[in-house]
């Protein structure tokens, strides 16, 4: 094939990488002299993405960059390459994960408050081991509980580009018997901005703190 085109180099790298690659990682494959521009790489990736249409794989953007993945339609057969069935996660684990994803950074105690039951230590351990969740700090209250947040690996695993791609949270409705004077108030988001953004996106716009219906 002679000297490979930019698109071929990107294709080879993305097919071989086994995980997402950022534009910068792709740029780093080229020596300093003769390094293509970011725009050229981006254009090659876009051409590649279209080229994958109708094939067994697709090129998708996730938090960690661009990734070639086997299409969902083929997964049932391909999954049989590996003996173990894909893991199913308990509701307790998924609820804990959901709370960390939507309410991060969050302490274990805050998770317990919302779920109404103690958080199983093993669940948090599993989430940490899978590197879906990590400790990002400690809340400055007695006991200095750990603050948990999701990782880029979590986003990559679930094919998300950012937390904004999470399915929107359901709204909280005010009971009919409550007048406006009663502010049920969303429990204050621990670390303001991150969560404020998340809420704004997930709960839709043009809605008060707790949309009244």
């Amino acid at each position: 094939m002679g000297t490979p085109s930019l698109e071929h180099i990107c294709e080879g790298a993305l097919l071989a990488a086994g995980g997402p690659l950022t534009l910068d990682q792709i740029l780093a494959l080229f020596p300093d002299e003769g390094r293509p521009t970011r725009d050229a790489i981006a254009a090659a990736i876009e051409a590649l993405r279209r080229g994958f249409e109708g094939r067994a794989c697709e090129l998708v953007e996730v938090a960690g960059g661009w990734r070639v993945q086997v299409r969902r339609e083929v997964a049932p057969w391909v999954g049989r390459l590996w003996d173990e069935r894909p893991q199913r996660y308990s509701r307790a684990l998924l609820e804990t994960l959901a709370l960390i994803a939507y309410r991060q950074p969050i302490t274990r105690g805050e998770i317990e408050d919302i779920r109404g039951v103690a958080v199983n230590t093993q669940i948090v351990k599993t989430l940490l081991e899978r590197e879906w969740v990590r400790v990002v700090g400690h809340r400055d209250v007695p006991g200095r509980p750990e603050l948990l947040a999701t990782t880029r690996r979590f986003l990559d695993y679930f094919g998300l580009r950012s937390l904004n791609d999470l399915p929107p949270l359901a709204e909280i409705r005010d009971p009919a018997f409550l007048g406006d004077e009663l502010d049920l108030g969303e429990p204050k988001a621990p670390m303001g901005d991150l969560f404020a953004n998340l809420v704004a996106v997930t709960e839709g716009s043009g809605q008060g703190p707790e949309g009244n219906n």
Binding site: A98, D174, L178
Partner: protein
Amino acid sequence: MGALVEPSAAPQGPDAPPADAGPRQGELPFAIVQGSPLLTLPLDLYIPPDALEVFLDAFEGPLDLLLYLIKRQNLDILEIPVAAITDQYMTYVDLMSELRLELAAEYLVMAAMLCEIKSRMLLPRPADADTEEEDPRAELIRRLQEYERFKNAALEIDALPRLDRDHFPTQAAVPPGHSRRLPPTVDLREVLLALREVLARADLYTSHRVEKESLSLRERMSLVLELLSDGEFRVFTDLFPYDEGRPGVVVTFLAILELTRGASLELIQPEPFAPIHVRLRTPEAPRHALRILSPTAAADWDPDEEA
């Protein structure tokens, strides 16, 4: 593309589980007792402790159980009939304690909360609107809603296409031998910290004081050596930059003197007032750093073919 191969009727593939095999509250049997699903709790019947345990295990705590009780009756959380729900809830709790099942503390706390709400609902509410009192159910409703939204979010996250189940990354093989060993990156700060440590150690010996020399002089010394690195003679005056003004000339002159003093260079002047030539000292060269040749010797001397 060749023959379509459809392994089973389900489009999910060979042996995919039913699409919504996940537990769905409100449709989930309490338990499977001797092969048949137990859809409503037979309060009037003996319940094997095992079955009750399974039943309780299906719930993620008191809020989940309450949501189940509400949804089972197609009630809206917002209009929760506290009296009826409390009675049902208490039935379970009583049953559990009768059976001496280990009851998680959360269930008892919720029981107490429900009883309190129920009794407050029974109290006559003050007639005047000024002292409007919060509905006793408000906090419970808020908690139920809050829990429910994350319960649903968990189901949605579970439904997201994910690696190892719905997608697989590709891993094409790569011919070996093309990866490189990268040199480490270094921070100038690291270099300076290292130097500080050396200086601290050197100070202990005090025999090595760092002299007062400018770095520009040191740099110029290196440059002069580089200019002469081919071992050839250069005309002395050619070593001076003319675009750096007086300071440039001075620093270059000092550098040449310093290098000559250190016997790295030799200066040669064939005869008085003739152009001075400079070159690197070589082992074969005579020991004098600065030679002024005698007029006779100078007559034969050719800088370009120096022995």
